[in-house]
């Protein structure tokens, strides 16, 4: 339960961080450490070198820019959860934070670190896809912008290369009148999800428009329910259509079957939570 030895660097500016990453050593970024350090304590990972970014200036922001909320690599969950910008513009995120970890973990853990850790049952990868976030992935040579829907590759796996770092997440502020909802079932409060469902949509002249739904806990990474979104787009909201899409989504899901919780139970959760989420989102949408 003790980490193996590693070299430690603690640069104070981002260029130095990206320079270290480009050197090719087996290097990990240490941000909040709330996932990395447990894995190091268990020796599931034993990086040769840690680059601690906690003293890098100017990375801990949550700010509004050009109709988007930009969140820096060092913005911690607790600060994001309490941010007036998030509460005002991204209430679905504020709500989801009620389900994420515990105060002492949120005090250290960062959103960008959570997204790079890419736990299959983590909530924020689903939310980033629902919200259409853009991930700013940087290296010394420059940055690239990756849509959240293309960022997650599998369990603990993202498109971020060994010489790259997720430096910022940009989340478009949803249009006025957008309805939203988030629901989850987990074994204990703050635990990873057995099933998470998040959705945003609008209701125009009695019809659902622009539905976006994402789920977590059902596969090796969070994913959008694109077929069900297509079915809902233009439909009149109602219990029947919600049930239909929930059954279709559950049939299409291929969740893990574990000793603790069966695949069938996870499908049942999706069948139950999805109609609730859609009903709540429609209820919040401006009509």
């Amino acid at each position: 339960m003790k980490p193996s030895a590693f070299e430690y660097e603690c640069p104070t500016d981002l260029n130095a961080v990206l320079g270290f990453l480009g050197e090719g050593t087996d290097t990990r970024i240490l941000a909040g450490g709330q996932s990395l350090v447990p894995m190091m304590n268990y020796r599931l990972v034993a990086p040769e070198r840690l680059i601690d970014i906690n003293r890098v200036h100017g990375l801990d922001y949550v700010r509004e820019e050009d109709g988007q909320i930009a969140i820096g690599a060092l913005a911690r969950h607790g600060d994001i959860k309490a941010s007036a910008l998030i509460i005002t513009h991204l209430p679905i995120m504020a709500e989801a934070y009620g389900w994420i970890a515990h105060a002492a973990v949120r005090n250290r853990g960062t959103l960008c670190g959570n997204l790079c850790h890419a736990d299959p049952a983590s909530e924020m990868p689903a939310l980033m896809q629902v919200l259409g976030a853009t991930m700013v992935v940087s290296k010394s040579a420059g940055s690239r912008h990756v849509p959240a829907s293309e960022f997650f590759l599998g369990t603990y796996e993202t498109v971020v290369g060994a010489d790259e770092m997720l430096t910022e997440v940009r989340i478009p502020i949803p249009e006025a009148g957008t309805g939203w909802a988030f629901q989850e079932v987990a074994m204990r409060k703050g635990d990873y999800a057995w099933c998470t469902v998040a959705a945003t949509l609008r209701v125009t002249e009695g019809r659902i428009t622009a539905p976006r739904i994402a789920v977590a806990g059902l596969a090796d990474h969070a994913y959008r329910l694109e077929a069900q979104e297509a079915e809902l787009d233009g439909a009149a909201p109602g219990a029947d259509v919600f049930q239909t899409v929930a059954h279709a989504a559950a049939e299409a899901a291929d969740p893990p079957d574990t000793e603790q919780i069966s695949a069938d139970y996870r499908r049942d959760l999706l069948r139950t939570l999805l109609p609730r989420v859609l009903r709540a989102a429609v209820g919040r949408a401006g009509h």
């Binding site: 350090v37 304590n41 268990y42 607790g78 002492a104 250290r108």
Partner: protein, 167 residues
């Protein structure tokens, strides 16, 4: 192994040390600073027993490296009481039987201190939320909730400002 020089404040005292980067803050506090009141339960961030206050926030000391505490202000359970006696939160845990074996207590106290500093009059739901990241295997939690509620009341009545800085 390379050691790194750090300096920090613990319970109001300035200290300096050389630490290997791999040393967890929890082990550093217990074995190097000889402050064994910080308890180490799970060592992977689940149980909350090792919670200490770093720069005004409750954190898992098993999920920080000691090198990261360079320049920080750390308060452990040893820093809560004064010559005048127990901190009101500790007193309330005593009076309300908020502990049996005491293993989780330092972490519970850190969570309670953080809660009451931000919210001097918490609802029971607020208290449950605040200690949701701390496991207790003895009390069934009810007495801990009673203790934190009672501590809040005592501190409001005595007009005690609960800060997260060392006394």
């Amino acid at each position: 192994m390379m050691k790194t020089a750090i300096s920090f404040t613990v319970n109001g005292r300035t200290r300096e040390a050389f630490v290997p980067p791999r040393m967890l803050l929890s082990d550093f506090i217990r074995h190097e600073l000889e402050l064994p009141g910080t308890h180490v339960g799970c060592e992977h961030g689940v149980c909350g027993s090792c919670n200490v206050i770093v720069d005004g926030k409750a954190v898992r000391s098993c999920l920080m490296f000691a090198v990261q505490a360079d320049g920080s202000d750390i308060t452990t359970v040893e820093g809560y009481s004064t010559d005048a006696g127990l901190h009101p939160i500790q007193q309330a845990f005593w009076e309300e039987h908020g502990l049996q074996c005491g293993f989780c207590t330092p972490g519970m106290l850190a969570a309670a201190k953080e809660l009451l500093a931000a919210n001097p009059d918490p609802s029971d739901e607020d208290i449950r939320e605040a200690i949701s990241g701390n496991l207790c295997r003895c009390t069934g939690y009810e007495f801990i909730i009673n203790a934190i509620r009672s501590a809040g009341k005592a501190m409001r009545e005595a007009d005690i400002q609960n800060t997260l800085q060392p006394v």
